[in-house]
Symmetry: C3
Subunit: 111 residues, 3 copies
């Protein structure tokens, strides 16, 4: 965590920015870079009767870290993505509950 | 938004219904048709030791619009999907928080 | 429901454990085995400028069943996955609201 789930941007493009992006996000989150996953999801988009290019959209799955960190995270993520020449990107955060997250079957956090 | 994430139904099938579907959903949500994304996700389903066809399932990601709109949205979406000859479809809504949604790094909504 | 959405583990591997896994999970949830979906999602993961193997991660989408059931579910799921020789697996639960779930356009639960 955080997981950065990417639609509409190629994995090869994400490779270009991944090191600098994760360094910056790790500093914002005050955690190690190896906590991050960037995963590109292949989807087939449909609009007005035709298959179209997928709109650049990123869902960040993480534990809630508050507004200030979220704003900084979104700004940094968008900055790196837009630097690729992507015209627009939308980002939504979804939160996992800390008492609903397990490593090797063991709950990570007490309730 | 809304994002209509489809599993177990082919993109080509979604193409057939996409225009009438999005017109109807835009009327229900009182927003423009260009706010909608329909994206088909390829998954490989497993049951009882074998790879099987994926069950038709749609996750709608949106901002909460209340029960009445949600009921109408689900009914319209199911009607169009079932018109394709799909036998059954389940639909779940997940909500993004408005203070957790960003366009080009800028938060869309004040908190 | 529950939906078991798998990243970083092959469908062929999930086939090997699927019958015993679903039998055990159905007993924990006190529901029929045909309520379960196991779906493998293909993602392309990026780290440090390169495409890398996807980390084994499972998202369980279900209705909230409480801590005790969740702990047992995660433990059983991890046990079966680790029996495949997978070294580590993380599991997160996400809940659908019962008033936001529809079968063939009909809401499943009263509000």
């Amino acid at each position: 965590m955080p997981h950065i789930i990417v639609r509409g941007i190629k994995a090869e493009q994400m490779c270009e920015i991944s090191t600098a992006l994760v360094d910056e996000l790790a500093a914002i989150c005050d955690c190690g870079t190896d906590n991050f996953m960037i995963e590109c999801l292949q989807t087939t988009s449909v609009f007005a009767g035709k298959i179209v290019e997928t709109y650049p959209f990123i869902e960040v799955a993480w534990f809630e870290r508050g507004l200030e960190t979220r704003d900084l995270f979104a700004k940094a993520l968008a900055k790196h993505v837009l630097s690729l020449g992507v015209k627009e990107v939308e980002i939504a955060f979804k939160t996992y509950r800390e008492d609903s997250y397990y490593v090797n079957g063991e709950r990570c956090f007490d309730v």
